[in-house]
């Protein structure tokens, strides 16, 4: 196959080389940040749902994600043992519904034996937060009992849709572009799931009663809404979203229980940036956090080499923050939002 040349390789380039620059940007910023943003959005959606209906910041959400992922991985192994697969898609997609069911059962059990008591007591939010720390410990221990603390990769099937070499050969560009199956899958699943959740909240009877309950609990109770049912549905949604987010994150990167505690911070930041209790804001917040994180920790030198004339190219990496500080980005955005607009980007009533 003849290699067509769209652009002169940059080493000989006299003129700025925009196409390579765009591909570079897509490969190292846009694609990873979109996938990461979708994962954060799903996580933040779960946090925000719990916040708006049960009215507390759930510190156990990260470990709920870890548990859901661990359960799914165990089922993946089981399926792999049986030879069941969904090739070229990862087996995890097949195992995901079962993982979600298990996680839902765990969340409902937790609510029955832990949270319900405080709900009936009408305890202040901060007590719920404290309780969720206890639950976090238990989930953490459960996950470790189930699967240990090691790094697990469970991505199988066709790993790439577009490979770097394939892309280079097809386009003749200097810069390669890789598109992983897990990344595309993440975005598709995220779009489907958030659409379904928004439709559910907007159009179904249960969704409407959830909104009513979160808007004004007493009024909702007066008008005959069954609070137990609302809470039940909320936990099922939160647990399912946590499992989906966790599995997609694990497919994209790898599964280690501790990292799921760490992404609690970007998830909280996404929920607050979007206006805590606002489902749409949570999704938007997830993408804002992800894009800022990737853009601020990316070394822009390569990109600038393509678009600037050679004598203007900076000597340094043009990296604003080193990758180790990626969590600082979520925190910075959080601080800015708290200072400038504590209600988040989307104002108004919860939901």
């Amino acid at each position: 196959m003849p290699i067509r040349k769209f652009a002169v390789p940059s080493s000989e380039a006299e003129i700025p080389d925009f196409l390579n620059a765009i591909v570079l940007l897509a490969n190292f910023v846009v694609i990873p940040a979109t996938a990461y943003g979708a994962q954060l959005a799903l996580g933040a959606l779960g946090v925000t749902l719990v916040y708006s209906v049960l009215r507390f910041a759930n510190f156990a959400h990260g470990d709920l994600m870890a548990f859901g992922t661990a359960a799914t991985i165990l089922i993946v192994w089981l399926f792999q043992g049986w030879g069941v697969s969904l090739a070229p898609l990862p087996t995890a997609i097949l195992a995901l519904p079962l993982g979600m069911i298990i996680t839902c059962l765990l969340a409902l059990g937790t609510d029955r034996f832990v949270y319900r008591f405080y709900r009936h007591q009408r305890s202040p939010a901060i007590v719920f937060v404290m309780v969720s720390v206890g639950v976090m410990f238990i989930y953490n221990a459960l996950t470790r009992f189930l699967i240990g603390v090691d790094d697990r990769r469970f991505e199988d099937g066709e790993r790439f849709i577009v490979t770097v070499i394939g892309f280079r050969e097809a386009t003749g560009l200097d810069q390669g572009l890789a598109l992983r199956t897990s990344q595309v899958l993440t975005v598709i699943v995220m779009v489907l799931v958030t659409t379904a959740v928004f439709w559910f909240l907007r159009s179904t009877r249960t969704g409407k009663s959830m909104r009513a309950y979160s808007d004004n609990e007493d009024l909702a109770l007066l008008s005959g809404i069954n609070p137990d049912r609302v809470v039940l549905v909320t936990w099922m949604l939160a647990a399912s979203l946590a499992t989906i987010a966790g599995v997609l994150y694990g497919l994209d990167k790898s599964f280690r229980p501790f990292t799921y505690f760490q992404i609690l911070l970007p998830i909280f930041a996404a929920a607050i940036v979007g206006g805590i209790g606002q489902p749409f804001g949570a999704v938007a917040g997830g993408f804002i956090i992800a894009f800022s994180e990737v853009a601020l920790t990316y070394a822009w030198r390569g990109f600038l080499t393509h678009i600037l004339p050679p004598d203007l190219i900076p000597a340094g990496l043009v990296q604003i923050l080193s990758v180790e500080y990626k969590f600082a980005v979520s925190f910075l955005i959080l601080v800015i939002v708290l200072l400038v607009r504590p209600t988040g980007i989307i104002r108004g009533r919860v939901f």
Binding site: F56, A57, F59, V114, F117, P124, A125, I126, V127, V129, M130, V131, V133, G134, V135, M136, F137, I138, N140, A141, L142, R144, F145, G148, F261, Q262, L264, L265, F268, A269, I272, I276, G316, I320, S322, E324, Y325, F327, A328, S330, F331, L334, V335, I336, L338, L339, V340, P342
Partner: protein, 443 residues
């Protein structure tokens, strides 16, 4: 009467548990547990000041403890002159850049309004940050190149390590002031999330800024305030005293060394406890409780709630910082990777809740009980797993159970926290009720 009898009994039980370790296992182990329990108790006191007095949830204790630990490095380690020569100028310029940025930001904010103000401030800070990096990056490279296997950082001031303890408190207080300024006065859980974030950032800085802390290469050999075990072996009367109890010289020295730390820590704990109790029983303490119990009413009475919260948050964090410096002093080394949120944030919370939030004596007791449990969870977990595994045939499940013994710790901590919140929310030693609601004492 039971107000004194109950705590006394609980403390006696705790003491006998530690003494039991001394008799059964060894006295050095018992003293090591005591030393760490004393430090935990000080941290717990700090958190109790925030939670018990003010109702503030600090989810970043680990960060404040680590800041205290840095103080021990920066105060007590000898300075590395070569590093200062290599990178001092640029570092000074970077510092000036930070000051300049702050000045410029204040100036810009004075001249702009509304939405433009936000953007102008952000832009000024970003520009200042870039200028700072222009100086900091070469400084950091030059410093890290100096004798990297044992130095590669600036060193400290070479002062006595005890000076680091109040300095650690100051560091933590400074960080707490900044976080509190941003997150207090908003919804209660925002502080929790903001502290979670600041802790994550402090830890990231300590792990990665090698010129300051050597990062993951750790700083070892921090000067000790108590003579080392080897020095104690050379002191005649100590060995003789040990001999009269039938102890070998090495054992005597080990005990003397740990006992020295224990006394030092006890002194600090006693002082902080005394101050905390004084504060609690002063008009200030009553005001804090009033704010905690009914914020709106206190506000209506003219109390500046946000300011008081900031005050109590800074004070509590300072105490945690002091404890963090003491911890590094005890270890004699600074290991940034050792600071995990589970161990230093959430376990401290279990201590506060179990001990009795709002009651300082309870908080101290909680520190002891939970630390003891934490230490004992490992042998108990191994025992349990071994006993359980014995019932099973050799195979996958058996080895899995043996492997999962260490995971008993988080499970136990979670159970203690949940059971305590559910069935004894006021803790082992409940908070004393305010005198006005207590029945007048007959007699």
């Amino acid at each position: 009467m039971s107000r004194i009898a109950r705590p006394l009994a609980l403390y006696a039980v705790m003491a006998s548990l530690i003494v039991a370790v001394g008799f059964i296992q060894s006295w050095t182990v018992a003293l090591s547990i005591t030393n760490l329990a004393l430090i935990s108790a000080i941290m717990t006191l700090g958190v109790n000041i925030q939670w018990g007095y003010g109702g503030l949830f600090n989810a970043g204790i680990v960060g404040f403890a680590a800041l205290g630990g840095v103080a021990a490095v920066l105060v007590a380690m000898p300075p590395v002159t070569d590093s200062w020569i290599a990178g001092g100028t640029n570092l000074g310029l970077a510092g000036l850049a930070i000051l300049g940025t702050i000045g410029a930001a204040v100036f810009v904010r004075g001249r702009t309004h509304g939405r433009r103000r936000t953007w102008a401030t952000l832009f000024t800070i970003l520009a200042g940050y870039i200028v700072m990096r222009i100086f900091l990056d070469p400084a950091s490279d030059a410093i890290e190149a100096i004798n990297p296997s044992i130095q590669g950082y600036l060193g400290g001031l070479g002062l006595p390590v005890l000076v680091a303890w109040p300095v650690g408190g100051l560091f933590a207080a400074g960080a707490a002031y900044l976080v509190g300024k941003v997150a207090l006065g908003l919804r209660a859980d925002y502080l929790a999330i903001a502290t979670l974030g600041i802790a994550e950032i402090i830890l990231a800085i300590l792990k990665n800024e090698n010129w300051l802390t050597r990062g993951v290469k750790n700083v070892t050999g921090i000067p000790r305030p108590i003579p080392s075990e080897r020095t104690f072996q050379t002191i005649g009367w100590v060995s003789e005293l040990g001999h009269s109890f039938g102890l070998s010289p090495a054992m005597t020295a080990a005990i003397a060394n740990r006992l020295g730390y224990a006394l030092l820590f006890l002194l600090v704990l006693g002082t902080i406890l005394w101050l905390a109790e004084r504060a609690l029983n002063s008009p200030w303490g009553r005001m804090m409780r009033a704010i905690r119990d009914n914020q709106d009413a206190a506000e209506a009475m003219g109390k500046d709630v946000t300011r008081r919260h900031l005050q109590v948050f800074v004070l509590g964090s300072a105490v945690v910082g002091i404890a963090g410096a003491m911890l590094v002093t005890l270890d004699g080394q600074f290991t940034p990777t050792a600071y995990t949120p589970l161990r230093y944030t959430f376990v401290i919370w279990v201590m506060v809740i179990l001990g009795g939030s709002g009651n300082n004596w309870g908080a101290v007791l909680g520190g002891f009980v939970v630390w003891y449990t934490w230490v004992m969870a490992e042998p108990i977990g191994n025992h349990l797993a071994a006993a359980l595994a014995d019932l099973l045939p050799a195979g996958w499940l058996r080895s899995h159970i043996l492997d999962s013994a260490p995971h008993l710790r988080p499970f136990l901590m979670g159970m203690i926290l949940l059971l305590c919140l559910r069935f004894a929310p006021r803790g082992l030693i409940p908070e004393r009720r305010a005198p006005s609601t207590r029945k007048p004492e007959v007699n």
